[in-house]
Symmetry: D2
Subunit: 432 residues, 4 copies
Amino acid sequence: MRSVIPDYLAEALGDVASDTSGELAGYIPELAAADPEHLGAAFATVQGEVYGAGDIDTEFTIQSISKPFAYALALSDRGFAPVLASVGVEPSGEAFNQISLEDGTGRPLNPMINAGAITTHALVGPEGLKPAERVERVTDGLSAFAGRRLRADEAVCASEMEHAHRNLAIAHMLRGHDILTEDPRTVVDGYTRQCSVLVTARDLAMMAATLANRGVNPLTGQRVITEPVARQVLSVMFTCGMYDAAGDWATQVGIPAKSGVAGGLIGALPGQIGIATFSPRLDPHGNSVRGVSLFERFSSDMGLHLMGVPAAARAVVRSNHVVGSGRNALRVLQLQGGIGFAGAERIVREAVDSAFQEVGVAVDLTLVYSIDDVARRMVLEVARRLTLDGHEVHLVDPESLLPDPDPGDGGRVTVVETVAQASASVASIRRP
Amino acid sequence: MRSVIPDYLAEALGDVASDTSGELAGYIPELAAADPEHLGAAFATVQGEVYGAGDIDTEFTIQSISKPFAYALALSDRGFAPVLASVGVEPSGEAFNQISLEDGTGRPLNPMINAGAITTHALVGPEGLKPAERVERVTDGLSAFAGRRLRADEAVCASEMEHAHRNLAIAHMLRGHDILTEDPRTVVDGYTRQCSVLVTARDLAMMAATLANRGVNPLTGQRVITEPVARQVLSVMFTCGMYDAAGDWATQVGIPAKSGVAGGLIGALPGQIGIATFSPRLDPHGNSVRGVSLFERFSSDMGLHLMGVPAAARAVVRSNHVVGSGRNALRVLQLQGGIGFAGAERIVREAVDSAFQEVGVAVDLTLVYSIDDVARRMVLEVARRLTLDGHEVHLVDPESLLPDPDPGDGGRVTVVETVAQASASVASIRRP
Amino acid sequence: MRSVIPDYLAEALGDVASDTSGELAGYIPELAAADPEHLGAAFATVQGEVYGAGDIDTEFTIQSISKPFAYALALSDRGFAPVLASVGVEPSGEAFNQISLEDGTGRPLNPMINAGAITTHALVGPEGLKPAERVERVTDGLSAFAGRRLRADEAVCASEMEHAHRNLAIAHMLRGHDILTEDPRTVVDGYTRQCSVLVTARDLAMMAATLANRGVNPLTGQRVITEPVARQVLSVMFTCGMYDAAGDWATQVGIPAKSGVAGGLIGALPGQIGIATFSPRLDPHGNSVRGVSLFERFSSDMGLHLMGVPAAARAVVRSNHVVGSGRNALRVLQLQGGIGFAGAERIVREAVDSAFQEVGVAVDLTLVYSIDDVARRMVLEVARRLTLDGHEVHLVDPESLLPDPDPGDGGRVTVVETVAQASASVASIRRP
Amino acid sequence: MRSVIPDYLAEALGDVASDTSGELAGYIPELAAADPEHLGAAFATVQGEVYGAGDIDTEFTIQSISKPFAYALALSDRGFAPVLASVGVEPSGEAFNQISLEDGTGRPLNPMINAGAITTHALVGPEGLKPAERVERVTDGLSAFAGRRLRADEAVCASEMEHAHRNLAIAHMLRGHDILTEDPRTVVDGYTRQCSVLVTARDLAMMAATLANRGVNPLTGQRVITEPVARQVLSVMFTCGMYDAAGDWATQVGIPAKSGVAGGLIGALPGQIGIATFSPRLDPHGNSVRGVSLFERFSSDMGLHLMGVPAAARAVVRSNHVVGSGRNALRVLQLQGGIGFAGAERIVREAVDSAFQEVGVAVDLTLVYSIDDVARRMVLEVARRLTLDGHEVHLVDPESLLPDPDPGDGGRVTVVETVAQASASVASIRRP
């Protein structure tokens, strides 16, 4: 039953694999030497399930994807007021390498641009923390988001420090405005170390899922940040996460997101899912080419758009009960609402977790008003697996939401208009 | 039972009423002559319920709040491609009176600034429509969103045309870039007429609810726009709707919104609710002072933030069943999930719609993981009304989500840890 | 004697004639239909001499070259304070089609951009002038600068009004800021008429010479504007006249200048000369391609750079006297200072005006510290003509400012180190 | 005779002394501790005369006034092409603390902003020079401009380095764009040392006079830079020297200029004069308050505006001859042209240098068309001194350029209309 989503992901990866456009980040040798063919995608639900395909266990440096998480840690460690006093939340409408300081104050416009991220790094941990302790706090925090112990890539870190001219410029500028109060080089060193932490697509999906899950890591159950902090971080990712193409991303993809120059890209949909992709070639905005394509597809295929009416994940299975008794007993899964990825995933798990005694099983779509492409496939896969397990599967589908349903390879499904018809149909089966 | 939300709204209005800061829009005499003390707020759910307090039936001109709706109509009438070719979706990071045309092409950055809105107006209806017919189409469209026939205020319209220097400038500029292809004065005239349409806070709440309800007017059931159009409009409202304070609004309030200089302010939360406030004094950004305060409060009190985990409106009542029988029968309302405003509103209506036969009623919070302030009040109000109707109300609240519950005036509630305890408690009641 | 400068100009035109790069202004048919091969250049000295080569009597529309002159008229008619209150004097650092209004006030940054020029047009003549009277005042004023009656090209004017979208936009914007207080369309109509006035390169050279001559037309002797107005206009031309390449022009050419889209280009060097060129093909900045080349050459060949030490035009001939007597009489032209174009022109005229009785003539360069290329040619031409008139010409040149002097065709010159040597040389001549 | 100009300067200083507005540069303690009352002004002519009043021998740090001179040295040492490839010549239209790098290339817009000045410092001396050698070359160069050996203020230098956050930021940014290729901190250290060189107002006037004198120090006669370099530097000072008020300065004052935060301000008028003022309180642009007032006055009183028709300094004395003989001999100083400061200064010196034998002296203004206020005083002072020396002074002034001339204290002058009248007048004098 678990294979539906991985199959879908593998198919999506296959579709984008041929796109070799874009360039590796070339400003330091270590990044330029990456294998450009790496490709992976992972989903992590807020219940802690992880699905993936491709290179989801390959380590690469987190880079700018560390920004929202370090911002979350700073908000947690210092509180909202001092962080907002030092870093704004306004979109910059500018490319990632712009400085974008507020006139007069020198306050960086938001924490997703480098000026804001350098300032944010200096705000992690309590005041007065030594630089090395702060790096430790950042690494611990990122590890808590990921649910496993992370470590930095020392070679990348050293190499980036040698080419950190621009970040040093920014840090000196911030020091000149008293936004930073420490030695600029030390802060840039710590920030570079933060960006050099090694992660996998699996880690990133779980980190994003922690944001989507109101700050609680779905795997470890640890509350990493509070719900207001998670909300703040997701808001800023939505309006400022994708640099100067923020509006295009917000309308077309509609998922709070953040990319890194090593090829990672994450998205988080509150209450639903964390997503991560990995493919190192970048477009001129500095975002992973294939990663952007995959997110566009995920948003479209799975109805994950933030402005879509949220598929009510927990309640898509309105009831799970039995009508009739004995040989005529019919197990009824009554679904409801708009069924997107998260909802379908619930259905799959409800069917998997139960071991239905009844021969007849009806999936009742009467109260369903919409169903996405991926969810459709998942429902049919449920039907197929139930058939293979010996059940007679009926689809109660009065509005033909699933026209000509074909569960494929060994599956069989009978379409009816009411649960009563399903009962009658089951009752008519001759059994030895 | 209906009074809880109006009471809450009235209380909120009372709290902001003393704030007389801000100024009336002064650029035309008609707006400057408005009564600055008007104050109203209305909620419209995606099920079509409207709640309100204060001046919710006073008419005023829609002004810039017409922008997202005209954008929706243009997308509907022309399709996405031609509209996107003429108007972008990027935040401008600028004040509302900036021109913000894209370098080179002259394309307005987004449909929420005047340049974009003027262009959008010219894209409503099929190509080749005469100016008067287009105004008719716009008025019809706005009326469909509101669910009643709207009309323009001719005096305001005429007065605004006399002071439309800036909009005429913008229109001529757009004409120079061939973004507009018609006579600039005619387009500005039509756009001014669009802005002069008279609405009430009640209308605006319903218009916003139509966006929140995937394009279907919850009251009339009419599909005004498609779901993708609604999604696009909400996305653009979120990133571009509140001018140069977009980031503050996105993080603190987190509701796609739009304001107008006559004092209106709307917000729409997908799948949940449309909100409108009316108070004519404006802050320096051009947004209603009290309106902004009210939205900040609504967001905070009711968990309406877009990045909050969505309260699964349709399914907060997991089941509504009876355990036991005869005199021991206990009506159980089993709630689940995070309960926000929309969810609580469902509970109220479930309780109101039913006329429970059983004396014992248990509200079971075992599967609830969070409950907002407003929802808490609404649950207690349900308990109070049920007490007054002769029921014995039990709250199954093992995690003390409602500590020391006090339903007030005539209400009574017994807190237990399990449904079984509630059953036992009910069974023990001595009745004549 | 007069032919030296025309010959130089013809040679310069010949050198740039082969450059056919650039494009005709294409935004209205009348300009696009111009003959792109037109080429002319004219000099007018502050003494009223005009030298020219090529198409210097072909009429074309003055376009933006009218801007500095209309600015001069506005300053004359209204005084400095009201004009400066409406139009600034700061470089915009922007292309000619930018709006560049000052934040807040809407005041155009300078009178050389369209916004400033439209505002300036409305400030010509006394307050309360009717639009047609103002156009008459502008035409009269331009005519006074040129020294002949000018008239507008009605076809170009009508055609430009049809394409005046951008200027209408600007005028409406200015009206919105109350920088303009009249009907925007009427002002743009008058401004377009101003730009349609027909001039020749000869006219433009004289107009520029009037600015260079402290506001007095060197030909007619009419004081068109006061000296402070001329100074103001030249200052603004220097810093704002060549749009976004102002710095390049200021350093490389160093002449206050203004160009027009019909192919005209003028320069004025205070106290010395007015220059005009005509060649219709434009570079991307909107400046005449060959015109820019010609100015670069003039500046370099003739030492016309404003930051060059000014050649003291009136006094380059320190004395004109005779030493010795009878047959030994030697006419001595004692020159001094840095000799540039204007100074050399004085020498030529001093030699032409006088009819020297003495056979021996000495041109004494002892007190000269520099001499430009063009001046060098002119001095040698003086020597050639004096030889042809029967004089024995000596060049007193102890520092070899004119090494190996060759006056050419029929000329002869003897180089000596002192006037005494020249006297001795003359005395030794055997004559019948 | 020398006292006229110092008296004028003393009077001008007296007029501005009461203006105590503005603030000392406060960013480093050494500058904040300066005596705010210092006030001085000095003129240096291109002939090497220095006139001054007030604190013209007090040392202070040169600061940004070093920029044009270091630019001159870079152009000299490297040639135009490599310097222009690294630093532009366009006005920035921005405040002095803006970064103003060209989009894409990172090239500073001009050498007068800090980014350009830091880059320029690194271009002084041949390629490959060690940092300490470069500082030595800069100090030598500045000393050559001043005509005496200068040295740095080590305390100010050390203190500025401690507060050089912004310059370090800029240098790192330039390093990131490969505009700088050396260690950013080392370059900023050298640049700070350049800014810490101690000068007096007298030095600065001589440095400016060297620029005005085509690159030759008028005092030492040393050619410090070539004429094209002087022209380039003066051009850039004119368009970029006074930061964001460039246009106001260019129109109102009209003198290429540069200011420094220690209170110095210089101006240079090609072929005429170098000017320096010293007063430490600064306006919000960072320019000396009293310095700006003094320059406005000098420009107005002395006709020093670059767009004024240049007073032909070398030739204002058209002839100096004697008419008549014996007791009737009359010494005639025939003046001509427009007489400004520089011309008047020539007259004074002509009168001082000569020891006229004749009793009668006529100053002939017949060929003079204008005379400035300061020049008028100087001519009268000449008359006064001649009277005291026993001469009978006549002013030939047919156009009443000096109405009611009063040479003051002991002076006497007779006004006549022709030289012949002066002769007759002298002949009529009875002498023992």
